[in-house]
């Protein structure tokens, strides 16, 4: 009899060990916990049949991002064939008009256009359900509709809720879902998950309150708090770059790193979202979520496994090691700004206070820069400079790791000092990684000039990368929470951001506008970093 190599679990008992050693071991047939046929099928895996229920289906986010992402997943056969979307909105559509409206959005926003037949199949699975989020009757009829769909579409009682609504509607929707029992997971395998869009709370108290309200109905393992930045290819590659390569991690600490800069710069303004931005500002819109998520990914310790909680535990430790800034630190290490009129991309643009639905005396910040420190063994003494803003000179997001100078100047005859090494991870645009090092200029002298090794995603992989929403939606359908933020993580991020917001309330009114549109932020932001003898990277 010939025996082939087989995947196997470690022996549990002395007898099993002996049998394994003798090559006679059989698998434990009594209580197998893991489906062995699943091994190696991650990319081939299709989510279980389910109904997705999208709240806020007529809104901008749904039409621009969520539904096109679902259509792409359908196009690439990554959705189960037994799948349906129930779209909930307040507008008086019927199924036909909503589908027509949706088709238009798909044509406008899809990354790759669907052929006619595929689009028809996709739209046939979309069902419109009109109603007000606070109306009990709407949830009763939704419950009935879902029962019907489970039978018609064989969706096995699995439900994925997606809240793409105004944050103020989150508690109401979650409470109503609990009231009609749509949160209950069934014994016969029917799962229930809920995806909640950012912003998750307005400050620490409201985030805690929202967490309490959500967790009163759903368990943490059912909750997927989405920050689309975590679904971006480069951000996901950050983990591969750090923990899949042997040469960088030994350098990734206070001994070799001088400081780290994280920038999320936008050239666009608030784009007809004046009332939303007035209530939000740069700290709530980007700093509390995107910037602090990038910070935790770049600074975290290697997780023991790639499991969701192992990863999130490590990110949480970073945020906790940052701690809430003191009043003195807020005054010294945090800068806010607001754009005035200026020029962007060769076009004159309005100042923030002249935008529609914005108070002409608004004190809302459109720019924030901060110097943070992480008090742990790896990073103690290494400053992290974070900045984000609207109407900056260009759209650019990157993480730059600035290494220390060489300890000894060997090339004294060179007219230029070698610049310290730099590793820049570009998130957008032109995703890639750049490493700067010194090189001798050809010639008889010994001049040193910085040169760069530049890896651009497009050069190595000219493939069409999936949109962040495609990645994250598929993960939620497959039950993988790795790229979603946990309740304690959200609260830890708010614990950093909230004292800043509160501190500003007690400070004198800022002298806004403080930077012209098209500049790189206010002069105070430059002072913030230059007083440490460093400079912002020119992007």
């Amino acid at each position: 009899m010939t025996r082939a190599a087989a995947p196997s679990a470690p022996p549990q008992t002395i007898r099993e060990e002996r049998l394994a050693r003798d090559g006679k071991r059989k698998r434990s047939a009594a209580h197998p916990e893991v489906n062995p046929l699943r091994e190696g099928l991650r990319l081939e895996r299709v989510p279980d049949p389910h109904v997705m229920v999208l709240f806020g289906a007529t809104g901008d986010l749904s039409h621009r991002k969520v539904i096109p992402a679902l259509a792409q997943l359908w196009r690439t056969n990554l959705l189960p064939s037994d799948w349906a979307l129930v779209a909930i909105g307040r507008r008086p559509y019927d199924e036909g008009t909503f589908r027509m409206d949706l088709a238009e959005s798909l044509h406008k926003h899809c990354r790759v256009q669907l052929d006619e037949e595929t689009e028809r199949q996709f739209l046939d699975r979309v069902f419109y359900h009109r109603g007000d989020f606070g109306d009990d009757a709407m949830y009763d009829s939704l419950s009935e509709k879902l029962e019907g769909l489970h039978v018609e579409q064989a969706t096995a009682h699995n439900l994925l809720f997606y809240l793409a609504t105004q944050p103020s509607a989150f508690p109401t929707i979650v409470g109503e879902l609990g009231r009609v029992g749509l949160d209950h997971e069934k014994h016969d395998g029917g799962w229930r998950r809920i995806v909640i869009e950012k912003p998750f709370g307005r400050d620490l108290d409201s985030a805690r309150k929202l967490n309490r309200e959500v967790l009163r109905v759903f368990r943490e393992s059912q909750v997927y708090r989405i920050d689309h930045y975590l679904g971006k290819e480069t951000v996901r590659n950050l983990m591969v770059f750090r923990f899949g390569n042997g040469i960088f991690e030994p350098l990734w600490n206070r001994r070799y790193v001088d400081h780290i800069q994280i920038t999320v710069a936008e050239s666009i303004g608030i784009e007809e979202r004046g009332s939303f931005y007035e209530e939000t500002g740069a700290v709530r819109d980007v700093f509390q979520n995107h910037l602090l998520q990038l910070l935790s990914l770049v600074a975290m310790e290697p997780p023991a496994t790639f499991a969701a909680d192992a990863l999130r535990d490590e990110k949480l430790k970073v945020l906790r090691a940052c701690g809430p800034p003191t009043r003195q630190e807020i005054t010294r290490d945090v800068v806010r700004g607001q754009y005035g009129p200026g020029w962007v991309g060769g076009q004159p643009v309005k100042g923030y206070r002249e935008e529609e639905e914005v108070d002409p005396q608004s004190e809302t910040e459109t720019f924030v820069a901060a110097r943070l420190e992480i008090d742990d063994w790896r990073w103690s003494g290494v400053p992290f400079y974070l900045r984000t803003g609207k109407r900056l000179a260009r759209r650019a997001s990157e993480i730059a790791i600035q290494f220390r100078d060489v300890p000894h100047r060997l090339f004294a005859e060179s007219s230029t000092d070698p610049q310290p090494n730099l590793l820049a991870i570009r998130i957008q645009p032109d995703e890639g990684i750049l490493l700067r090092f010194g090189s001798k200029v050809p010639g008889l002298g010994l001049e040193i000039r910085p040169v760069t090794m530049d890896f651009t995603y497009g050069t190595a992989f000219s493939v069409d990368a999936p949109d962040a929403y495609e990645t994250l939606l598929l993960d939620a359908m497959l039950g993988d929470q790795s790229l979603f933020t946990r309740a304690d993580e959200v609260e830890a991020a708010w614990a950093i951001a909230t004292p800043i917001l509160d501190g500003w309330l007690d400070m004198p009114a800022p002298d806004f506008p403080s930077y012209a549109a098209g500049a790189w932020g206010p002069a105070e932001a430059d002072d913030l970093i230059e007083r440490d003898g460093r400079r912002w990277r020119r992007l």
Binding site: M1, T2, R3, A4, A5, A6, P7, S8, K26, R27, A29, A30, H31, P32, N35, P36, L37, R38, E39, G40, L41, E44, R45, V46, D48, P49, N77, P80, S81, D82, A154, A156, G189, P429, D430, T456, Y457, G458, T459, A460, F461, S462, V463, D464
Partner: protein, 410 residues
């Protein structure tokens, strides 16, 4: 030899260096260089010229001068052994369609006029693509090599000097490689991966499978078989059945596996059964089964093949059963699994259906809701792209091929 001008399946470009300056459109490959050579050294020289003299400026969208720095993609060498005639044209079309995806240098090697004198003809091209409107163009080199006469028997000697060093080498052999031949051996000594399609091999394909399974012992080479890749959705469909906690334990009580395959013209012995065999090999390798009795063809026509596996203490008979069908010969039509545990009986039937596979299962006669998995047939171009993407080791392929080798042991 000037006879090369009439080489098969290619339109001969002028024998001059041609830097081309057509405007670029994001996402669409554009030919930036075309030249020709008649010796290996000549090809190497032409490849060198591309990067020293390719035009860095191309017209912008509205005809304005626009500077775009072209960069060579540096990911891998792809060697395509295109054989002769139509195969060369087909593979060339597929590879051109993939321009910009990954390979930095592709050598498409064909042979011609085997009884004539030795000659070589090469078309050297650079295809570039703008990944996005703001990014620089990235370029891949494509060399069509046609070797005539005795040169055609020494392909490795032509290929070796043209590989970019330090980059992995993938050999795509779309036809039927003779794994024990000198030509294959010479090429595989320089390769990191070989891509084949076992479903296209002659006869029942099992001899080729057996020979291929032996390759890892002789060469440090990874094997990817499109026939196995095409079954991804079948594997997902079968695996999904046992995601149900109440059905999972039955996996270890399997007592029968039946695979039905298409044998349309009434000559089952001639149907290539590599694909049905891979289903058995996958199940056996994942479940840690051993082979009691390797595959044996039935005594009579239409009796198919039999295998006996062992799962724990239980012997599991396996049948590969030919079925009259309009589907291409050798196509898997259905996979059936049967298990009895604690007097409960599970029967699973996964059947090919139009653009997908349907999973039907019954537990003690009670039907479990069926599931359809969409699985449109994937084209060679998609499979090639996917294989190139998955540059790392593929645990499934490795285990399945190892098990297949044991299953078809002579």
């Amino acid at each position: 030899m000037e006879g090369a001008a009439s080489m098969e399946g290619a339109v001969a470009p002028p024998l001059s260096v041609t830097p081309l300056t057509a405007p670029a459109t994001p996402g669409r490959p554009v030919l930036r260089w075309a030249s020709r050579a008649r010796t290996v050294d000549g090809v190497a020289a032409e490849l060198g010229k591309i990067w020293s003299s390719i035009s860095l400026t191309t017209p912008g969208e509205h005809g304005d001068p626009e500077r775009r720095v072209a960069a060579r993609s540096s990911v891998m060498n792809l060697v395509v052994v295109a054989g002769r005639g139509e195969m060369g044209e087909r593979t060339a079309a597929i590879v051109e369609g993939l321009t910009g995806r990954h390979p930095s240098r592709t050598l498409i090697v064909s042979t011609a006029d085997p009884d004539g004198p030795a000659w070589l003809d090469a078309q050297v091209q650079a295809h570039c693509m703008l990944p996005s409107p703001t990014a620089p163009e990235t370029c891949s080199e494509l060399v069509y090599l046609t070797a005539g006469g005795e040169s055609g028997q020494h392909l490795a000697a032509i290929v070796a000097p043209l590989l970019i060093h330090d980059l992995p080498v993938t050999v795509w052999w779309p036809g039927e490689p003779h794994f024990e031949s000198r030509a294959v051996s010479e090429l595989l000594t320089m390769a990191d991966r070989i891509l084949v399609d076992g479903s296209g091999w002659s006869g029942d394909g099992l001899a080729g499978l057996h020979a291929m399974a032996d390759l890892p012992k002789r060469f440090d080479v990874e094997i990817a078989d499109f026939a196995l890749l095409r079954q991804a959705r079948w594997r997902e469909a079968i695996a999904s059945t046992f995601d149900r906690p109440n059905l999972l334990p039955f996996l270890y009580y399997l007592d029968r596996i039946d695979v039905r395959y298409a044998a349309s013209d009434g000559t089952p012995g001639m149907a290539n059964v590599v694909r049905p065999m891979y289903h058995v090999a996958w199940l056996a390798s994942r479940l840690g089964m051993s082979v009691v009795s390797p595959v044996r063809a039935g005594a009579e026509a239409w009796s198919g093949y039999d295998v006996v596996l062992q799962l724990g203490r239980r012997k599991v008979p396996v049948t590969l059963c030919p079925v009259e069908s309009t589907a291409p010969r050798g196509t898997t039509l259905a996979v059936g699994l049967h298990a009895v545990r604690n007097r409960s009986e599970l029967a699973v039937d996964v059947t090919a259906y139009a653009d997908g596979v349907v999973v039907r299962a019954t537990l003690d006669g009670q039907a479990i809701p069926e599931r359809l998995f969409l699985a449109p047939r994937r084209r060679e171009a998609e499979l090639l792209a996917e294989t190139i993407d998955a540059a790392g080791r593929d645990a499934i392929s490795k285990d399945v091929l190892a098990m297949a080798a044991v299953l078809v042991e002579k």
